[in-house]
Every structure is written in C-alpha cells, then in structure tokens.
C-alpha cells in the first residue's frame, strides 16, 4: 500500500516516461569512472528525484532501493541538539537539511563528514564514493551553502553530492560552478496525460481522456500533484466520469475562499477574520511564500484592470519585506490591508462616476 507516485515511479533510466534524450545522457555519465557533483534543477514535480534515484540505481545496482530510515543527531556549536531524519541505502544518503531551519549549516557539515570519513568497504561496489542527496538545496541558508562549498571540495575523494533544487538563483555561484547542472523541465501536457493513462492501465482502471486532460490542467504541470490528484479522485469516485469533481489541494481552495472574502468586504473586522484564516494556513505548514503567491493570483483575478498594477506593486513590496522579516503574518496582513484600501477606494470612485 503505497501511493501511486511511489508505486509507479520509474526505477531505471531506460524506463523513464519523458525527457528520454536526457536519460541517455545520464546513462553515459554513469559509464565513466569519475563523476562530478550534480545539481538537478527544475520546477516542483518535474521528476528530479525520480531521475536522481534512477541514476543511483544505474551506478550501484538494485542495492540503492533497499531504503532505510535513519535519525541522525547533531549538536550545534551552541549545544542545541537537532534530530534530522534521513533516508538512505548502503550507497547513498538522502537528507533534507532545510528542516533544521537556521541550524542547517551544522547538519550539512557534520553529515558530510560522517559519511565521507568512512570508505566504502565493499570493493566490488562499482564506485569508491558514496552519494549524498540534498533535497531542496535552494532552501539552504547562505551560511550552509558556504559551508557546503568547502566540504564539497575537501571530501571529493569519498563522496559526491547531488543537489535537487527548484531554482538555481538561490544557490550561491560558488556551488553552481562546482556542480554539473542538469535541468529537468516540467513534462509537457501530452507527456503527463500519457503517464496518467499508463498508471491507470497498470492499476486496471479506465481513465476517460477528458478527465485526464482536466487533471493535467489543474495540476499546473506538476507530475506529482497530477498523480496524487488522480488517486485522491479515484478514492472519491470510481468508475471515473469525464466531468467528475477533482480533488484539489485543500489550502488552495481555502485561499480562493479567502480572496473572495477580501473582495466582499473591506473593514478592520473583516481583516481580522482574514488574519485568522491566514494563521490557519500557516499553522498547517503551508510555506508563506506560496500563500502570498496564491493570494496575489486570486486577488488579481478578482479585481478590475485599473487596480491590478497597484496591487502587484504592493505585492512585490511586501513579499520582499516578508523575505527579510521574521513574522510572515505581518506582511501578509499588510498586503491584504493595502489591497482592501485600494479596492475600497476603487469602489467609491465607481459609485461617484455612476452618480454623475
């Protein structure tokens, strides 16, 4: 009982569904004895992690698929103890240092040291190095990235690093230049539809092409989201019909409702209610930048052309402040207040012009 995303994830480079040329290139990369640090970049749900796992399998064989969970403990210089969950096999270790928050620097350094200081015992294992997969590398703080660049060079003999990032713009140039960048673009819509059909066939389900197309549209070219959506929809209603309701991300639905409420009334009391809703989203763990983005998209869709530019201007200003500040709610609220203000003024002007 696993999710379809995991169950039908391609395990080998040759079995990948799309970007086949790139798969060929990756296979060639493995054939050589040496192997650089890699950086996979591309939008969320494009298949970066899948390609990384395929690549590892190509290098080490089926052994990498025997995964185990391991909790690693680290002590920061200020004596705080952090626990980080990792997934790994005998050949690789996957870690998400961004979960350690501002202490990710310690995690990065200690982890690499621990892994790199042990040589591979198994001589028959094809490679003499282990691989550390760092997912969401762009969430690493600048400190951690600088620490990473030193350790990367120091332990290059015994370990290689594969970074998986959404955007290279948040990776410092020093690391970018040390890695071979591999771009994984989002799959095309026809690719995605094919994957969905394929998955359903293997599950023994019948998927109407219209529904597949709708799921693809809703998923914003995010393969992972599309598969999860389809599976959740299947759980809700099967046999599929072309016009059935598709299960969406609950926080997106919630955000849409929030935007409608903002447009409906512009008073301090309403702002307070909106604040509670935003708190709710934050406490669900939805990243504030996603909330901000979703909110702006919805509001811009809901408002008149004449105030769109102003709204976006405020959005950029407060988003910037949110990145620099610590209390995300302040800036989300500030943006909502500004929008309410300009929207209210716009409505008042509308009434005035109607009168004359």
């Amino acid at each position: 009982m696993a999710l379809w995303v995991d169950k039908y994830r391609p395990r080998e480079l040759s079995k990948l569904d799309y970007h086949k040329d790139q798969a060929e290139n990756l296979r060639n990369l493995c054939k050589q004895s040496d192997f650089p640090h890699l950086m996979f970049y591309g939008p969320s749900g494009a298949g970066k992690k899948t390609r990384i796992m395929c690549l590892l399998r190509e290098m080490y064989g089926a052994g990498v698929e025997r995964l185990r969970n391991e909790t690693m403990n680290f002590t920061t210089p200020s004596n705080r103890k952090i626990e980080v969950m990792t997934v790994g096999s005998n050949y690789h270790l996957e870690v998400n240092p961004s979960d350690a928050g501002m202490y990710d620097r310690t995690v990065v350094i200690d982890l690499i040291k621990q892994v790199a200081q042990t040589q591979q015992i198994d001589i028959n294992g094809q490679r003499e190095f282990k691989v550390i997969v760092i997912s969401e590398g762009d969430e690493l703080t600048k400190d951690a990235q600088h620490a990473l660049r030193r350790t990367m060079e120091k332990y290059v003999a015994t370990c290689r690093i594969i970074l998986s990032v959404n955007s290279t713009s948040r990776i410092i140039p020093a690391i970018r230049s040390r890695c071979l960048g591999i771009r994984v673009p989002a799959p095309s819509e026809s690719d995605m539809a094919a994957v969905l059909q394929n998955t359903c066939k293997r599950e023994g389900l019948v998927l109407p092409p219209e529904l597949a197309k709708r799921v693809v549209d809703k998923s914003e070219r995010n393969m992972r989201r599309a598969l999860l959506m389809l599976e959740a929809s299947k759980v809700q209603q099967y046999p599929f019909t072309a016009q059935q309701e598709i299960v969406e991300l609950d926080w997106q639905v919630y955000l849409r409702e929030t935007a409608t409420q903002i447009v409906s009334e512009q008073t301090p009391a309403k702002l307070e209610k909106i604040r509670d809703r935003l708190y709710e989203l934050l406490s669900q763990g939805v990243p504030p930048n996603l909330i901000f983005r979703g909110l702006v998209e919805q509001l811009v869709n809901n408002c008149d052309m004449s105030i769109k530019a102003k709204t976006l201007e405020f959005a950029t200003q407060y988003e910037h402040r949110m990145q620099n500040g610590a209390k995300h709610i302040f800036h989300l609220e500030a943006f909502v207040a500004q929008f309410m203000n300009i929207y209210k003024k716009f409505l008042a002007e509308l009434v005035m012009t109607d009168d004359f």
């Binding site: 969320s44 995964l67 004596n79 997934v87 609950d250 926080w251 406490s283 207040a337």
Partner: protein
Amino acid sequence: MSAKKKPWVKSAFSDLNLIQKASPDPLPVKRTRSATVAAAAGSKSERKIVKPTTDEVVDLTDNGEDGGDTAPVVSDNWMESFAPSVSDELAVHPKKIADVRNWLQHCEAMRKKYPAQICLLTGPAGCGKTAAVRVLTKELGYALQEWINPVDCEEINALGDQPEGSYVGSQLQAFKSFLLRASRYKSLLAAHNKRLLLVEDFPNALLKDAASTFEDLLDEYVNYGKSPLIFIVADSKSRMLNISYKLFTDQLKTKLRIEHISFNAIASTIMQKSMKRFATLMQQQEQHKALYKAPTQNVLDSIVVCAQGDIRNALINLHFGSLRGAPSMATKQLTNITSAAGKGRKRKATSTLKSIGRDESITMMHALGRVFNPKYTEDKDKDKQLLHSPETLAEAFCTEPRNFVNFIHANYLPHFQDISHVNAAVDDIGLSDMLLQEYRDDSLALVGLTVAVRGCMVANVAPISGWMPVRGPKRPTIQPPLSGPEQRLMGVAYAGISKRLYASEFSSFVKTIASKRN
C-alpha cells in the same frame, strides 16, 4: 577578618588608624571625607564625627530646614539591622508564609523517605522571598547553606601534568558538587543537624540553553541529595532572562514534584505597616536615634508609593530619607490622581518621591492602552502633540521589542475604524518587523519598536475607544504528526520529504486517500 594577613596586602584602614593614633590632632594629614568615614568605620571605639558643611551634601531640595544638622556616620549594615527576625515581622502576605512553612514541615515529615525535596520561590524583586526563607528556616531549626557563584573555580591539578599545578575548573561542576556534598555532610562547626540548601545565584552556565543539563542535575539531586533545596528566582519581564520560565519547565516541575510558590509584590497596606515598624525601631534604639530623625508621614507615604511593592527599595529610600543631616526628600504630587479626586470620589492625594526611587515602570497593558487610544495635548497655541510620546513608550519596552510589537499586532485592529487608517499602521508594523530582524545593530531594535508604536498612534485618526480584552500574540502551532494510515501510505520515503513540501503538496491528498482506503 582573619588575624593573619598576607604581607603584600596593605590595609587602608589599619594605616589610617596608625596615623590617627599617632597624631590626635589630624592637621598634617590632608583627609578626604571618604577616608574619614572609612576610618571611623574601621575603628568603632574611637568614632569621630566630622562635620561637613551642608554644601558638600548633595542638595536635593531648596528647603533648608534641617540643613544645620550634622551628618551622621553609619556604623553597621542598615539592611541587616532592620531585617525581620520572626515570621510576624515579615512583610510577606501571611498565606504565602504559611505556604513556605507547610512545605518545610512537609520536608520534615518526609525526611526519612524522600529527603531531597525541591521548592521554587518566584516573585518580583524585593518582595521578601529571601527574607521569608531565612526567617522560617531559623524558626524551624534549619541550617541554611547558600550557593554563591565562585569568582573562579580554581582546582588543584592532582595529576601534576600542567605547568602551574592549577587550572580553572567548570563552574557547573563546582555547583554540582556543592549540591551533592553540602546536602550530605554537615559543617564541623555547625550545631544544626538539619540542613537546607539555597540557590539564588544561578551558575552562569545554566543561564543559556541549559535546560537539559539542569534537568540532569536535579534528577541526580533527587536521587542522591539528603536535604531540601530551595531555588529563589526573581521575576523578570523578559522571557529571555526569565530563569523560572526557561529552567523550570512545567514538565520538570511535575516530574520532580517541585513545589512552586510564587510571591506577589508587597501590598501597600503591608508595606505601610512595615514602614511604621522601621520608623519606631529607628526611634527606640539609642544607637539608631543618634543617626536618624523621624521621617514625616508624607515622606513615608511617598516612599511606599514609589517603591511599587519592593520592600528592599523602600528600606533603602527610608534610610536615605531619614538620615540626620541629609535634607528631607522632595516629593511631588501625582497629578493624574489628584485631578481624579475632584470628580466625586474622594481620594487622598498621593505623592511620590521626586528625584530618587525606582523608575516609573509601566505595565504592558497600560502601554498598549496608550498606543491604541492616542491622546493629544489640547493646547491651542502649540501644534497638536501626542500626550504620551511614542519614544517614551518604546523605551519602556526596549528590552523586549519583539514581544511588544507582537502584542501591538495582535490587538490593534479592533481599535481602528476604517481600513484606510489600518493600512498605514500595518505598513509600519511590517517595517518594524524588518528592522527588528536586523541583528547586527543593537540600536535598530529600539528604532523598530518606535516605528511600530508611532505608526500605530499616528495612523489611528479616529480610534474606537472602549474596553477590549487584550489578546496574546498567536504562534502558529506545530503540525500534528501523521496518523497511522497516512504514515503507511507514505512509507520510508516520508523522511526524504521536507515538512514544507509535505504540507503544500502531499498533505491534503494523502488525507483523502488514507481516509477512504480503509
């Protein structure tokens, strides 16, 4: 003082004594006033009272009614001679005294089985925590042993492998050994058999990020200690500095059954009573009578008002105010209270000390009220000005700017009438968050706080007044762990997914799938 002195220590006192003895007529020696005081203190038998002219005394007031008096020399420790010796004299509320006494009696009862009981006393500074402990332990026949942070923990190096034979040991180690040893072994000189340990002075190492170390320490103490242990912690406004909050977590308190007794600031009626006691004490004893004059009732009242429940501070002020030779303290009327007296309710005009005494502190709720209901001076000639300046308000909370801004943010909305006023305020609150985040410059914290306070006050053009409950700032709660079926769905791979990604991409789908599958 030990009889044998190290030769290289040259005592200032003995030197002066010699001079005084040698020359009864002290003309050739040019003496400063402080030296005289020191000399007098050093040789009680031949105390000489010098008469300084009034100009030398710090002149606090212009009324010279007691300017002609002589300045006395204080011989013994003022605080000690007026310290309470029996529990009836304590200024603490009787119920709290009973609480502490009950705890001590409880310790007595459990002495055989669980000797290592722990108690935590908290309360604002100067509310008589230490005094209560001292008096009660004396009454119940305990020998009090107090931990005082050593200036350096020099340890003799037993191995001898270091050049100088000694090194600086860990203070924490010393603290630990104090706890365990002092509770087990009594001093050779002490007659008491019952011991009680007191820790008021926390080792520095415990003050930051050491809750787990502290827990280990106490665990050990509960197992091996042989006598009750009392911790005294003064409250502090800032959470960062609050030991009772940081070290004594609720978990720890329940786990080790730590008795937590929290004292309140001393009520003004009790304080007045103690002030009277001090005043009569001053007049009763001969030695005191020579030093002090009777303070006027006005001064006594002002001292009580000014001390804000801090008896130690009140005592110091009393001492200073009633010294013979010192001018009586200037008092000022508290304007806002007298003006209220005009409207129907009869209230006694209260006054406070003018130039000394504790800082006028302002509570958080009070300050929030001033921020949310900005008042302006009604002076027609001048420009419109805020009655309470934002700078003063901000300065009162500069030790915890973040907290105050969070409170402002949590509560400002209901006080605004229109959204067009709100947006200016919230803009400044956001700006202040950015400023507060800048940790490289300390001064920016105050600037950030001022921006938030001023922004809120100025933007609120038409404040809604009226009573509104103050709410604490919300903290986004931590996500709950996955339920069983959800966990099974995710499998091993869950560890590789960050919490952020899980919440934004997986959570809602996985919930649906997990709920319907079973």
